[in-house]
């Protein structure tokens, strides 16, 4: 049997799959393969995130490119006997399209076929623990080319020409940053890879580090060479143990192969790389706070200028780039800037990576060319809104990003267009919301995160977000007054303009965009005391329609406070002063009765039904 005929089984151990216990699948597979003595026919490899987390845990079979979804513990035996021994793939585990069609190859699944994978190309296809796997797909060719064929200035120019913009949020041209770093006076310089990724719900950087760590390290070495740094740091979240482990292994392997250390690849260039685990505050992702943290101080931002390229770590010129920016840099050096520039838009070349979550059918890691529309991402790749509900809004850019409404679905996704619409690229979170979402509630949710994560250094951010939160609570609870929305807008202005760092400057975005695009919802809360999405507890009531109640008693049994009352064969009702609006009765009432209703608390109907005790 030759090597090429070997069945390669790729078990995904990305975040989504791992939490679906894919590690057990791996063990079980290994055990079965061993038991059935298939060792030289089947090779099992752990991979980083394959992308389609919705279907976790997933297994890919190469070289055919078959794809098993939602693999259970008890499916393993069948896969081994039927597929590996008899050569008959288990068709019932193939991906099922919304139309009910089974699709065997992942490349035919729209989620994948509609993407354009540059940075995520290797993710889910190579063994991240094997440097040879990375080398086999052209890894470290970019670094080699830089060191052997190019001067540092030429490397800077290459990145400059590529038009690459920083993927950490602000979209600052990476080449320009490198140029500033290169030209900064001084012998001692640092390069830093920002792998803090503190946004809740974002896991792109972590996934890349787990699935393809060398691509990032390669980019970091290239960056250091270009700017003339002899020391570099990778600042990674402590809460990403898998990423830390993966980085450690990759650092060890790449050091042994002389991709960093003394005289890299026989050149005159030497580089020390340190791994630094961050304590996990969101604000530590901000570049100046991150550097303070490396220096052993509390992670608090400081005003810029001076920018890090002028005075960064320990006061020395420093270039700090995001994980994805660096991974892109390796590709650019390998494939050339012209190639890179041909992808994406004029202003934002290359691809955009999102972690697509929320009420969307296919959640997962998504990479599309810049300029793809929100519709492309949410509907073509993401498969549309779950349970065929209506799309209401999409939040991009993490907790400090903005919410865009359906009218903006055809907005091309790139740094400038998003910014213009009030949202941001941020670190690449994308959360889809449907009609059951209340926009006031959503704004409050995101703001409460930034409020808690404010480092406390400057007043507008520390106190302004708190005051905004108080007003939002007031509105949610039906205590809103005329002028509250204006007050909110004024506070937004104070916080945006008065805050020191990007956290405060962007924290009001969710509020600003929801007011801009969904002002009527705010006004409904304030003026009519209603929550149109029926989410805000204080503004809804649960009542039982006496016409429909079958007196089954389900609501009475589940109600935690005894508000749902009734007797056998007697129509039930809800005693409003006891109801805490947990909605358990609403969920539990059998569909055929469908007697519990959620209605606006201050409506005519509420007075009619709910009012009568």
């Amino acid at each position: 049997m030759t090597e090429s005929e070997k069945i390669e089984v790729l078990v995904c151990l990305g975040t989504g799959c791992e939490s679906a216990k894919s590690d057990l699948l791996y063990d079980k597979l290994a055990e079965q393969v061993k038991k059935k003595k298939l060792g030289d026919k089947v090779e099992i490899t752990r991979i980083g995130c394959h992308g389609l987390c919705q279907q976790a845990p997933v297994i890919a079979i190469e070289p055919e490119g078959l794809f098993y979804c939602q693999v259970g513990d008890d499916d393993i035996a069948e896969i081994v006997t039927s597929h590996f021994i008899k050569g008959e793939p288990v068709e019932r585990l193939y991906y099922e399209s919304p139309e009910g069609e089974r699709i065997p190859h992942y490349k035919d699944i729209p989620f994948y076929s509609k993407q354009h994978r540059v940075v995520l190309k290797n993710s889910g296809h190579i063994d991240p623990g094997s440097i040879d796997d990375y080398l086999a797909v052209g890894g470290y060719k970019g670094l080699e080319r830089a060191l052997k064929e190019m001067s540092p200035e030429e490397v800077v120019d290459e990145v400059l020409n590529s038009g690459l913009r920083g993927r950490g949020g602000a979209g600052f041209p990476a080449g320009l940053k490198w140029k500033l770093g290169r030209n900064a006076p001084g012998h001692k310089k640092y390069a830093i890879c920002n792998a803090d990724e503190g946004d809740p719900g974002a896991f792109m950087d972590g996934s890349i580090l787990v699935a393809d760590p060398h691509s990032v390290l390669e980019g970091l070495s290239i960056c250091a060479y270009a700017i003339g740094a002899d020391e570099a740091y990778v600042y990674v979240r402590h809460e990403y143990p898998a990423a830390v482990a993966s980085l450690k292994k990759a650092l060890k392997d790449s050091y042994e192969r002389e991709f960093w250390g003394e005289s890299i690849l026989g050149s005159k260039f030497s580089l020390q790389i340190h791994l630094m685990e961050g304590a996990g505050a969101f604000v530590c992702g901000e570049e100046t706070a991150l550097m303070a943290s490396i220096e052993g101080r509390r992670g608090m931002p400081r005003p810029r200028p001076p920018f890090p390229t002028e005075s960064g770590l320990w006061g020395k010129p420093t270039v700090i780039n995001n994980v994805k920016s660096l991974a892109n840099a390796s590709v650019i050096l390998r494939e050339g800037w012209e190639w890179f520039k041909s992808i994406g838009t004029e202003g934002s070349p290359g691809t955009a990576i999102f972690s697509l979550t929320g009420k969307v059918r296919n959640t997962g890691l998504v990479e599309v060319p810049m300029g793809a529309t929100l519709r492309n991402i949410i509907f073509d790749v993401g498969g549309g809104v779950k349970e065929d509900r209506t799309f209401k809004a999409v939040q991009t850019g993490g907790p400090a990003g903005g919410c865009l409404p359906a009218e903006k679905l055809d907005l091309p996704v790139d740094f400038d267009s998003l910014r213009e619409a009030g949202a941001i690229m941020g670190s690449g979170g994308m959360i889809v919301m449907d009609e059951t979402t209340c926009m006031v509630d959503v704004a409050r949710y995101f703001l409460s995160f930034t409020q808690q994560e404010s480092c406390g250094k400057c007043t507008p951010c520390r106190m302004g977000t708190l005051q905004m939160l108080r007003i939002l609570d007031k509105i949610r609870e039906g205590r809103g007054e005329d002028g509250d929305i204006e007050k909110l807008l004024e506070l937004c202005d104070t916080v945006v303009n008065g805050s020191l760092c990007g956290l405060g400057q962007n924290a009001p975005n969710p509020v600003l965009t929801t007011i801009e695009y969904f002002r009527d919802e705010y006004e409904a809360h304030v003026k009519d005391n209603t929550c149109p999405a029926m989410v805000c507890k204080e503004l809804v009531k649960f009542v039982i329609d006496p016409e429909k109640c079958t007196a089954c008693g389900a609501c009475k049994r589940i109600c935690p406070t005894g508000a749902a009352q009734g007797k056998k064969d007697v129509i039930h009702h809800i005693q409003q002063d006891l109801c805490i609006k947990c909605g358990a009765c609403y969920e539990v009432c059998p569909p055929k009765a469908d007697a519990v209703m959620k209605i606006p608390a201050h409506s005519e109907l509420a007075r009619e039904i709910g009012g009568a005790k």
Partner: protein, 769 residues
């Protein structure tokens, strides 16, 4: 010269490292600030100083933005003022702000009523900072008259558990000045921000007490705080002082320029003088900052002269007491009388005391406690060029490295430590030989814990650039040689250098090591050692100081004093030995801090001090003298700079200045030359005598002993008053020092967190069981 336009005004300035705020201030343009402080690096947190700069995005803070040529800056556009007002409103949400918007403000400012304590919530008269609130200044500038938001106070308990000062973080505006001064200026890092979001507050790491966090109670944090959050307990509620006077603290040899707040003719509080004011430049230590009022206002101060009559010491008039003393002195046989002065008296007083002994009584037996160390310094540096190495502390800036020998200067010279840390922070190597507490462990580049006798060999070899250095590892030795081999050094030398077998050789080695352009800072532990040595209060010395063996000096003095006993006499240890043998008839002692052990057999003791001590019970005559805040005179600090002590408070009872008592006695005895009217007269007379010392020859007389009762080599006293025995907070602090100063383990943060968690868990278990 570069040009900048601020609010349309054209201003020329030097571009070097200046911020917009610097330039604005220099030209008298006011930009409100809260987190900025002259001594601290800019922070950019309060946002009060934001400005608009043509061509720059957003609103950069003036305090962090470098002023550049051609910049156009606006400081007070409508936009900016609204933004600032809105930010201030947010700040006032938490800050008790009744006093900012109070209708009675005008009258209140004018008449400054004494506090009547209202509830904490209203925050009006509960704030001890009312008269100098920097927050209110900015509020007034912004024209805020009413609050926009419902207040939501923090409701944090006031922290009162630690010594000396209370912390009421309800008033804190999180400007981080305290944190920055403690970290960046004092090098202690006792406090930090904890928590996040609106719960952010100032605290110690892990919430331990200040004592355990490594705080030195230097008070620097209090002095930079713009609000009333931090206040010394003692002076918190004394209200506005009648006056503020600047004078010198004498509790160590730094001689800090101190602002004393005076009310009812008493010292109510002490704060460091202005930032510009040398030598301490706005900083002090725990003694000067917190202990002076309790010390000088002590109720047990001696208030009138006492004579022992039929075994009891009874108050008498000055006339009677001095008459008796002059009679005793006249009748005594000079060789059998001892004179012990104090290193905490003024130089003038020491001089008149010396003159009284040698010229009046004709006794050469003069000394003071701790005189060995200043004498050693003078003798070993007798050559002018060597002596010139004692310089001003600011010279630390000029040297390439610093070495400390003979004591942990962080403990006994906190202000010197502050100056050293400034250099260390900029990367200047610090070598520590001997004692080192937590700060020195952190600051030192190399620390060799060699003690006592071995120091000598170490220093001599080091001066020879030999790598054979006792008590060091190979790499340490290499480092030592490398550091000291380059450029010029500064030597901080403490009295434990006397533990060397030949202290002179150790000191000379240090002088050679520092180089011709190097510096030497003798860290006298007690106070005015340098001044009292200038008065020559040693048996083998004369004023100047001069050696009795130097003929010209002797002749000059003979002429000035019209004779006197200018030969060698008994020093302190010899006086004690003679006393034990019954060969000393009389002792005139002006320092209650000397142990009376061995002196019990002396028939006649004259005790002169502001404070009672064990000597009071032995004395035939007690003469009350003043403390340093009640007398005029000169204090010579460790830089050998003369500093003035001023009578700024009223002495209790009829206490007199030391020199006045000595001069009166001189007149009563009938000796010429005691008609001094002012301390300035005396200073002038003393200034005629110049340094004229014979080189070397200091013998080891007694072993150098730590002054402590509790194995602590820092146990501050003042003329018989044991300060920690009088001030409980100081005792608590000193007691904690050995525990804190045990070297930090090399436990990593992770391990530490684990250990602390474990301890908490086991404590929780104990509570449960």
């Amino acid at each position: 010269m570069a040009t900048i336009f601020i609010d349309g005004r054209k201003i020329e300035f030097e571009e070097k490292g200046k911020t917009i705020l610097d330039v604005a201030r220099e030209s008298g343009i006011y930009i409100p600030t809260l987190c900025d402080h002259d001594e601290l690096e800019s922070h950019g947190g309060c946002r009060m100083c934001i400005v608009e700069v043509e061509g720059m995005r957003g609103f950069p803070p003036a305090c962090t933005t470098a002023a550049k040529d051609g910049m156009e800056v606006k400081t007070a556009t409508d936009n900016l003022m609204t933004l600032k007002r809105n930010i201030m409103q947010l700040l006032l949400m938490e800050h008790p702000s009744a006093c900012m918007v109070c209708a009675e403000q005008e009258g209140c400012n004018k008449y400054r009523p004494d506090p009547y304590k209202a509830g904490r919530v209203t925050g009006c008269t509960t704030c001890p900072n009312r008269y100098t609130c920097q927050l209110r200044e900015v509020v007034e500038f912004l024209g805020i008259k009413d609050l926009d938001y419902l207040p939501g106070y923090k409701e944090i308990d006031v922290e009162r558990e630690d010594p000396f000062f209370d912390r009421d973080y309800n008033l804190c505006i999180l400007c981080a000045r305290c944190i920055r001064v403690c970290d960046d200026v004092r090098g202690t890092s006792a406090i930090t921000f904890v928590k996040r979001g609106h719960e952010t507050r100032v605290d110690t790491s892990f919430g331990v007490s200040h004592i355990d966090s490594g705080c030195w109670f230097c008070g620097a944090c209090i002095d930079v705080c713009p609000t009333g959050s931090l206040k010394p307990r003692m002076t918190k509620w004394t209200g506005a002082p009648d006056s503020v006077e600047e004078s010198t603290c004498v509790l160590c040899s730094m001689g800090c320029q101190t602002q004393f707040t005076i009310k009812w003719e008493r010292v109510m509080g002490s704060e460091p003088g202005a930032l510009e004011s040398a030598p301490n430049h706005g900083h002090m230590c725990v003694l000067g900052r917190f202990c002076i009022p309790s010390l000088v206002n002590a109720p047990d101060r001696i208030k009138s002269p006492h004579l022992r009559k039929e075994g009891d010491s009874v108050p008498v008039s000055w006339e009677e007491a001095l008459g008796e003393v002059s009679r005793l002195l006249k009748e005594a046989s000079p060789e059998r009388v001892g004179f012990l002065g104090s290193p905490q008296m003024s130089s003038e007083s020491a001089y008149v005391f010396h003159k009284l002994a040698r010229a009046g009584v004709k006794s050469p037996n003069v000394d003071f406690q701790g005189s060995d160390f200043p004498a050693l310094i003078h003798k070993e540096l007798a050559v002018d060029q060597d002596f010139a190495r004692i310089r001003e502390l600011d010279y630390l800036k000029e040297v390439d490295w610093i070495i400390s020998v003979g004591g942990d200067f962080v403990k006994d010279h906190q202000v010197v430590a502050k100056k050293v840390y400034k250099e260390v922070r900029q990367g200047k190597p610090l070598i520590v030989i001997g004692d080192a507490g937590a700060n020195l462990h952190r600051w030192s580049t190399v620390h060799v814990s060699v003690q006592g006798k071995d120091i000598q060999k170490l220093l001599i070899n080091l001066a020879e650039h030999s790598k054979k250095i006792p008590g060091t590892s190979y790499t340490q030795a290499q480092q030592l040689v490398e550091i000291t081999g380059k450029g010029k050094g500064a030597v901080l030398v403490g009295p434990r250098i006397l533990e060397s077998i030949e202290p002179g050789l150790s000191l000379r080695a240090l002088v050679r090591l520092a180089g011709v352009d190097g510096a030497l800072f003798p860290l006298f532990p007690l106070g005015n050692e340098a001044g009292v040595i200038k008065a020559g209060l040693r048996p083998e010395m004369l004023p100047g100081p001069a050696s009795i063996t130097v003929k010209e000096a002797k002749a000059l003095l003979e002429k000035a004093w019209g004779g006197g006993n200018l030969s060698d006499g008994l020093h302190l240890v010899e006086m004690r030995q003679k006393a034990q043998k019954g060969e000393l008839d009389m002792l005139y002692i002006a320092d209650g801090s000397i142990s009376p052990e061995g002196f019990e057999k002396i028939p006649t003791i004259i005790y002169q001090s502001p404070y009672p001590s064990e000597w009071s019970d032995m004395a035939s005559v007690i003469l009350p003298s003043t403390t340093f805040v009640e007398e005029s005179g000169t204090f010579i600090n460790l830089e050998l700079k003369p500093l003035k002590m001023k009578p700024i408070a009223k002495a209790p009872g009829t206490a007199r200045q030391d020199w006045q008592i000595f001069a009166e006695l001189g007149r009563l005895i009938g000796t010429d030359g005691f008609d001094h009217q002012t301390s300035e007269d005396i200073w002038e007379e003393l200034s005629h005598f110049t340094r004229s010392i014979e080189v070397g020859g200091q013998k080891r007389r007694a072993s150098w002993k730590p002054a402590s009762k509790e194995k602590n080599d820092w146990y501050p006293r003042y003329r018989g008053a044991v300060i920690p025995e009088r001030i409980e907070d100081l005792a608590t602090f000193i007691k904690a020092l050995p525990r804190r100063d045990t070297p930090l383990s090399d436990e990593t943060l992770d391990e530490l967190v684990k250990r602390v968690q474990k301890e908490h868990a086991s404590r929780a278990k104990e509570v449960v069981s």
